[in-house]
């Protein structure tokens, strides 16, 4: 969780250098939902995601250097430079891919779960999506299919109240719409505080265990908040789609700080230890950025290749 925060902050800081020449969607503020959910998975399990995927990639154990290099458009990037920030992949880590057409990776994840089920493999699939994605036709179709086939999948919704700059009230109605949709299909569903790492982990653990033991799919909706602008490194409270008050009320509920405090209060770790961990992580991230910057550009002859597999 802290690692995601540090990586995202580092991206935000370096973005201004104009060397990351692709859009980035940072998830600062939402780390608990991402880290907590992935902590419930095994390495062999699969994760898919959408446009805001750095946190999911890292939480699932994706290679940090390959991610940074990808954002920098380098040959050493996880997609050889062809994908960029919105197309991360790390097959060894079970991060099967992220793609930015909202909603589109949801059925793909269901298909992965379908294959897993057909082959009787001991793997669970988790797909991350936002509140906006729950308005796409393909989301509902996928929920119906997963329920029908009793697939080993967890639909992990991070509800951060916005789709770009559009608030919930211009997009959805119904008090518990998202979980109720899942339940209408006979699927177990829970809504909970997405900024509380322990709660996220517990619910995710339950859902993953259920899926693993043949109990079928679940949907989890975690309420959280994106701190930075929708796309890009800055803040955008000033442009008027949300209030500073709202922003600060969420900033006070910083999931990273909250968990740190909890760990320290419970005596699991001391403040100094925490600082050391943070320092090490920062060094790791800085090294990844250096690695990315120093990596070679992809060779021009890779441009027309990989259109077709053979």
């Amino acid at each position: 969780m802290l690692r995601i925060r540090i990586v995202e902050n580092a991206i935000a800081e370096s973005y201004g250098e104009q060397e990351m020449r692709c859009p980035v969607h940072l998830s600062i503020g939402q780390e608990a939902a991402e880290a907590g959910a992935c902590a419930a998975l095994e390495r062999r399990d699969y994760v898919l995601s959408g446009h805001r995927s750095h946190g999911h990639y890292l939480a699932k154990g994706g290679n940090l250097k390959a991610m940074m290099a990808e954002i920098y458009g380098k040959a050493t990037g996880c997609a050889g430079g062809k994908g960029g920030s919105m197309h991360l992949v790390d097959l060894e880590a079970g991060f099967l891919g992220a793609a930015p057409i909202v909603g589109s990776t949801i059925p793909i994840a269901a298909g992965v779960a379908f294959a897993t089920q057909m082959r009787n493999e001991d793997r669970v699939v988790m797909v991350f999506l936002g509140d906006g994605a729950t308005e796409t036709g393909v989301f509902y179709e996928s929920v119906n299919f997963a329920a029908l086939k009793h697939l080993p999948i967890v639909f992990l919704v991070e509800n951060n109240f916005y789709s770009v700059y559009s608030p919930m009230n211009v997009r959805q109605k119904g008090v518990n719409r998202i979980v109720d949709i899942a339940r209408a299909h006979g699927m177990e569903a829970h809504q909970a505080d997405g900024n509380d790492l322990d709660i996220v982990y517990q619910l995710s653990r339950q859902a993953v265990t259920k899926a693993r033991t043949g109990g079928g799919p679940s949907l989890l909706e975690f309420i959280t908040y994106r701190w930075r602008e929708h796309c890009g490194p800055g803040y955008d409270n000033d442009i008027g789609y949300r209030t500073e008050d709202e922003f600060f009320s969420w900033k006070e509920r910083d999931p990273v700080v909250a968990y740190e405090k909890k760990l320290i209060a419970n005596g699991v770790v001391g403040q100094h230890e925490m600082d050391l961990i943070a320092r090490d992580l920062k060094q790791e991230v800085d090294a990844a950025i250096v690695y990315a910057k120093q990596s070679p550009w992809p060779d021009l002859n890779t441009l027309p290749s990989q259109v077709y597999a053979s």
Partner: protein, 352 residues
């Protein structure tokens, strides 16, 4: 070796044999296991391979295309069927943004071996929303392959090749071909994607046909023989990638080009072929190229209207004679037999 099989049976046999050879092949689609079995093309598969590998689905074509894709990412080889290409319009996003690009956009890390079967047709009052032919759309998208077999032999071999292929392949079947038979070997074989078939050799004009229009082109070539015109008919078989070299070689010989297609002419497949040939073989050309495909409006339902909607052999003959400077009989475009243009040969057992 001289076993006759219908096109639809050839499709079924290819599916059956591919499923028998490779446990990762499965088939899903609306009605796949139902008593009609997609015009007979999936009959018997359920009994043989069971409900896991032969599946019906919810009326959710978009999600199920994604599901097929997802399963392919982790090693399955799905075949997904649509009873009309029109229905697949809801699934364009998955086919075009996702399946076509997944291999490229992840730098070759993953692959998507899947086959999307779609059916096109002609007439029978299906009307504007059940009669489109959208191969040009798919062919415009890097990352997809597009196959349109004509003969039962090719249907079997190309479907087998499509299933073996590691990429998303759009497999388009013309309903009027389903009941046409030819020699189809019993053993498993593949016909390579991307290779055209010269259906008959000729020296005066090259006629390109695909799918059902290859048959009309062949018929036209017969009529033309009587008029002392030697037509070479090429069945493209694969639209993307299409066999440029075979076509260019033919045009170098004939100097004349007629391209037919089952779809709307404007911005269609025939434009690409014509443009490419003219770019590459301008100096070989003795006459302006001609395209023969559908007019620029949707297909109407009434037989009185759709009758005149579809081009047939005599339209091809007419254009070729014009191109050769031969005399044109004024009424040759009218059907002497008064046969309805929207009704297939007697070999066809409708309805669509």
């Amino acid at each position: 070796m001289n076993r006759q099989l219908k096109f639809s049976e050839a499709i079924r046999e290819a599916t059956d044999q591919a499923m028998g050879r490779d446990p990762s092949v499965y088939i899903v689609g609306l009605g796949v296991p139902d008593p009609k079995g997609i015009f007979g093309t999936t009959l018997g598969l359920l009994e043989k391979y069971g409900t896991t590998r032969v599946q019906d689905m919810p009326l959710s074509e978009n999600a199920l295309t994604g599901v097929a894709l997802g399963s392919a990412l982790v090693g399955m080889r799905p075949i997904i069927t649509h009873q009309r290409v029109d229905f697949a319009l809801v699934a364009m996003e998955q086919m075009v943004n996702q399946a076509a690009k997944w291999h490229y956009m992840f730098g070759g890390k993953a692959k998507v071996p899947m086959v999307v079967r779609m059916i096109i047709g002609r007439g029978w009052g299906q009307g504007p929303q059940h009669s489109q032919s959208l191969q040009a759309w798919f062919a415009h998208i890097p990352g997809l392959k597009v196959v349109m077999p004509t003969t039962a032999y090719d249907a079997k071999g190309l479907l087998a090749a499509a299933i073996e292929d590691d990429n998303p392949v759009i497999f388009i079947e013309h309903r009027w071909l389903h009941n046409i038979s030819d020699d189809v070997p019993e053993e498993y074989y593949t016909v390579p994607l991307g290779k055209a078939r010269i259906m008959c050799e000729g020296s005066d004009v090259t006629i390109i046909g695909t799918s059902y229009m290859a048959l009309e082109s062949l018929r036209a070539a017969e009529y033309l023989r009587d008029a002392e015109v030697s037509a070479e008919v090429i069945d493209l078989r694969t639209i993307r990638p299409w066999d440029v070299e075979t076509v260019l070689a033919s045009v170098r010989k004939t100097g004349r080009l007629v391209v037919t297609d089952t779809a709307t002419t404007a911005f269609g497949v025939s434009a690409e072929i014509s443009a490419t040939v003219l770019e590459r073989e301008f100096d070989s050309m003795k006459a302006a190229p001609v395209r023969i495909a559908l007019p620029d409006y949707p297909c109407p339902t009434s037989p009185a209207l759709s009758n005149d909607f579809y081009p047939r052999a005599r339209h091809i003959v007419f254009e070729v004679k014009k191109m050769m400077g031969q005399e044109l009989v004024a009424d040759m475009l009218e059907d002497p037999l008064g046969q309805r243009l929207d009704v297939p040969d007697s070999s066809f057992k409708g309805p669509f």
